[in-house]
Symmetry: C2
Subunit: 221 residues, 2 copies
């Protein structure tokens, strides 16, 4: 991770987006962090030192079960807070968050302003709205998902997770995330390859026919 702790830059940034979110001027506590694709942003079980605000990039949210199984819980796209639960909830241990593409985040040193944040009504109101909208969005998403065959959901998933036209997720993980058997996932991927939608390569699946993929995705809405 590349820390660009240039607070001078942030301090002078006229368009600093967090200004609209916080009542408190958080610039003195804010750094700019850059995570490469695949890099961990929040490590599971660790209490983070920062409250992150994802400015650009996409990330995934993980959870490891008691039995050691890892589940992909959700996707996160900018703009979005990361680690907000850990800020609010004393008991809450962090879920894992990993960058899919390069991610740029504002990182607020919560150790230095936790109390002030928890008393910043503007921030708290923003967070409540953010959380309740996210909940509504999730619910809508779920109920839509349930209603379509895997091929469509898979198209959506591939579009969401591919980087530079390459899809390289773990089949086992994805099967769990999408709630289907590993076997079935392979069937459907094989179908997409058969279709000419994907091409299997050494290093992953290359999107060969973006139009086809998008059409599947659209039928899905």
């Amino acid at each position: 991770m590349k820390k660009e702790c240039l607070q001078e830059n942030i301090a002078q940034d006229e368009h600093f987006v967090l200004r609209d979110i916080f009542g408190l001027d958080v610039r003195p506590f804010t750094e700019l962090h850059r995570f490469a694709a695949e890099e961990d942003i929040l490590r599971e079980g660790e209490r983070p030192n920062y409250l992150y605000y994802l400015v650009s990039g996409r990330a995934k949210l993980y959870l490891t079960h008691d039995n050691g199984r890892i589940t992909l819980i959700n996707f996160l796209g900018a703009p979005c807070f990361l680690g907000e639960m850990e800020l609010l909830d004393e008991e809450k241990y962090s879920d894992g968050v990993k960058a899919i593409t390069e991610c740029v985040c504002y990182a607020i040193r919560i150790n230095e302003c936790r109390e002030r944040l928890l008393n910043d009504t503007e921030f708290l109101r923003y967070l409540c709205r953010f959380l309740s909208r996210k909940a509504v969005g999730n619910t809508a998403n779920y109920s839509r998902n349930q209603s379509y065959p895997l091929k469509n959901r898979m198209a959506s998933f591939i579009l969401e997770t591919a980087v530079n036209g390459m899809y390289r997720e773990r089949h086992t993980e994805v099967a769990e995330y999408l709630g289907v058997t590993y076997r079935h996932l392979l069937y459907v991927i094989a179908e997409l390859v058969q279709d000419g939608t994907l091409i299997k390569t050494e290093s992953g699946y290359r999107i060969a026919d973006l139009g086809k993929l998008k059409r599947l995705f659209i039928d899905f809405n």
Copy 2:
């Protein structure tokens, strides 16, 4: 709806639960409302005059689509806020909430204390925690759901919605909520009747074998 506006009672209530949630003493703005089963608690599209806190009972959350279709979005059980989004979000119109069983709610007259609530950090923090936990719960619930056949999900659903051992939901609605076709829902209900788990009567389906239903539900965890 029976309003029991006995603020004297509330004012004297030593164990008033909202005391732990709000920094502000909301007792002067709080009434006790009682809704019968099937009664509307929040009417869709209307801006509610109260922020409700469900003390006991179960309710369901509805949404009407542009095309007029009604979808059952979710279930709500005590303790739970109702109408919190509408308090926070200016633009947000209310979803519909309808009582399943008799519901007892504290009803806070937001017109009289909206500003103060939106500046009550204790309340806002509580609400953030509540929302984020709800989101986590939903996600967990959702991913579990995906993985089980309708018979199990149906058992869970019947246990959740039955009142006094009678199940009377609309099949069309339920099919939509559970994300299956109407046809398939009927198949599975027929199976449960075949089983001897349910008995079809004039006024709905009677739970004939609670044990069987619970076993289906348990296999589902």
